[in-house]
Symmetry: none
């Protein structure tokens, strides 16, 4: 590891199809009362059957012990080095609202905040103003400074995205959010010589925002953090010779897919909608990233029962996916979200890979313990794409 | 990984003996009718017994999902980094016919081809002329250009090897084989400034060949590809302090062994011959690379039954090998060649390591599934040599 260059040199275009199903937050931990994990509790006959005919394992998103955010978790699943590819907070906020990011844009996470008459911060979140108010304030802040366009877009409550678009910009600057109240916003400083222009423009923007928002208390100032630029990633078309499409109900996952050049297929908000979208476009692509958000959301809420239920719901749709007869289907997650931890965790993620050539193992059910005995062993998540490509017969032989 | 430097620093010469048995293309996939792999189908009591007393595992030749050619597959088995060591097509063709390669030689795979009166290629393989005709044409093409000797040697049918021998050569040039018909051979162009001389000489050689072969239709022109130079590898003597010997019926494997400094023992064409050669020279060396080609050949032909049969044949010779009482015996393959895929594959290779000190596991039969539960786990093939060295007590302690 790391082998993306190697894969790129061996990839060949073929019509064979791969479906990568990401059950967000899939892996879990035992419930203290039953001693059973979410997967062990759930009644998931279709996933069990797939585990039986496929080859199983536990994927490690980043490194043992490392709990990934959604961005590195997916970066690894798409076969990119999650320690090399850094997706900053500003970029993630922007892709999370489907903002049409351009190469070179410097993206920033903005907060509306409250300052007193001396300019000291009294509330870093401006009393969590409504998203509607946020949306009405954002357009006031669009301007051009030294030829650089400053664009804005509301996210939720006090959060918004700031985009600096123009030549000669760099994200290597300090943040204006001091993370405490009672002090004024910090000046933005250049961390490298190529960032002096960006620092100057960002500072000018903050000053102008203060003037524009003067009478808009509680949202009478802004704070900036997470200056970042979208990473220059080779597209999945370039790396894998694939024609890839993404189906996801949450914008952040669509945004991550867009960063690696997937086509984004518009879909509804339910599992049914996602499967219908898959069927509708099945002929047009040879790789599908199918994202199911619900297990993670239930895990984050610490709702063990609801996580079990979402797994059972997803299980019911497995036959519809298999009926499409993809050459390769992968069932995995971007990380574990054990309900008892109420958050992402570092635990390896149960994974099934099925193809005609997968060399099945002795696993007969889809649980953390069973996958531990699987043919894939405990392996880096970034190896899922090479394995899927191999099983789809999309890789040439290495060496003479 | 990669640890060859470490091994080199710890290796010590001892009389203990290692036998590395490579069953080419060993691993397989289930037959659609029986659901059993070739190994699961074969009656191999001696290998099963060895699996029981040895420690087992599944070796990954290169990386998960990567299907290796024979060269990188063996490079890894000999304990060299298969992603670092690149053995080009020209080198492989040359070593494959036991051509005495010299350091600095630029080696090229040549094809006799047919061109029409305008010089456009009509058959890239010259109607697959006989090997005899090839052998009679090759000597006509030997010449000296700008002090560089151009040597040739027939391979089979239309294939031959071209050797450019002299000072200041580089393999960094384009190929003359355009891979299509209806166009003339491509000019050879330098890909780097140090290759201009080589490109000029190769072009002159092609022109001269055209003149010499003018009336030899269908073999009235030549095409060149796979310009390469033999890699500068430390010998196994240097790395491991071993006195190594190779026993192989196919010249390519002898050639690969020669690249890492093994002595090549002349042998016959059968398994019996190979075992007899092993016995004959057993006292003279402390490492033997014993290559069995047949499982791969049967797998490549898609002949499941014959692959099973060759495994059963090899099994019968295991006692003769064990009777020599080697300190370490390894049974493995350079890659899998499942009959249902009719070619090399990416699947991990069943492996047994037996020594008095191997720390056996619970595996009692030699199959893909059983090896998955073995003490070696699923591990990089390049770790086989360090493990064999350790089990032969040929490695000093690391650190104070």
């Amino acid at each position: 590891m790391f082998t993306q260059k190697l894969i790129k040199s061996l990839a060949r275009p073929t019509p064979s199809k791969i479906i990568l199903c990401v059950l967000d937050g899939l892996g879990g931990l035992p419930h203290p009362k039953t001693g059973k994990t979410e997967l062990e509790t759930a009644n998931i006959p279709n996933l069990d059957k797939l585990a039986k005919i496929g080859v199983c394992g536990l994927s490690v998103p980043i490194e043992p012990g490392i709990t990934p955010g959604s961005a590195p978790g997916h970066t690894a699943l798409f076969g990119y080095d999650p320690l090399e590819v850094r997706i900053g907070r500003g970029v993630l906020e922007a892709v999370g609202i489907d903002f049409p990011v351009k190469r070179g844009d410097v993206l920033v996470r903005g907060n509306f905040c409250t300052v007193d008459k001396n300019g000291n911060i009294t509330d870093r979140r401006a009393g969590r103003i409504s998203t509607e108010l946020n949306a009405s304030l954002c357009p006031l802040l669009e301007m051009t400074i030294e030829g650089v366009h400053v664009l804005t877009a509301p996210v939720r409550e006090h959060r918004f995205v700031i985009v600096f678009r123009g030549a000669g910009l760099s994200p290597e600057v300090t943040e204006s959010d001091p993370q405490v109240t009672g002090v004024p916003p910090s000046p933005v400083k250049a961390l490298s010589s190529k960032a002096t222009k960006t620092a100057r423009i960002a500072d000018q923007f903050a000053k102008s925002a203060g003037v524009i928002l003067k009478n808009k208390k509680p949202a009478n100032m802004i704070l900036m953090r997470g200056f970042s630029r979208s990473p220059h990633l080779s597209s999945m078309k370039e790396v894998y010779q694939l024609k890839p499409a993404a189906i996801a109900t949450y914008p952040m996952y669509r945004g991550l897919a867009r960063l690696v050049g997937m086509e984004i297929l518009s879909t509804g908000t339910s599992l049914e909608d996602e499967i219908a979208t898959l069927k509708k476009y099945y002929k047009n692509y040879n790789f599908f990233f199918l994202h199911f958000k619900k297990p993670d959301a239930a895990g984050e809420d610490g709702d063990f029962g609801r996580k079990v239920q979402t797994l059972e719901e997803i299980d019911k749709f497995i036959p519809s996916i298999l009926n499409l007869k993809p050459d390769v289907i992968v069932i995995t997650g971007d990380h574990s979200t054990p309900a008892i931890l109420k958050g992402h965790s570092w635990h390896p993620v149960p994974t099934i890979l099925y193809s005609q050539f997968c060399r099945s193992d002795e696993v007969t059910e889809f649980t953390e313990k069973a996958c531990l005995r699987g043919g894939l062993g405990t392996f880096p998540a970034a190896q899922i794409m090479p394995l899927a490509m191999a099983n789809a017969l999309k890789l040439n032989k290495y060496g003479a």
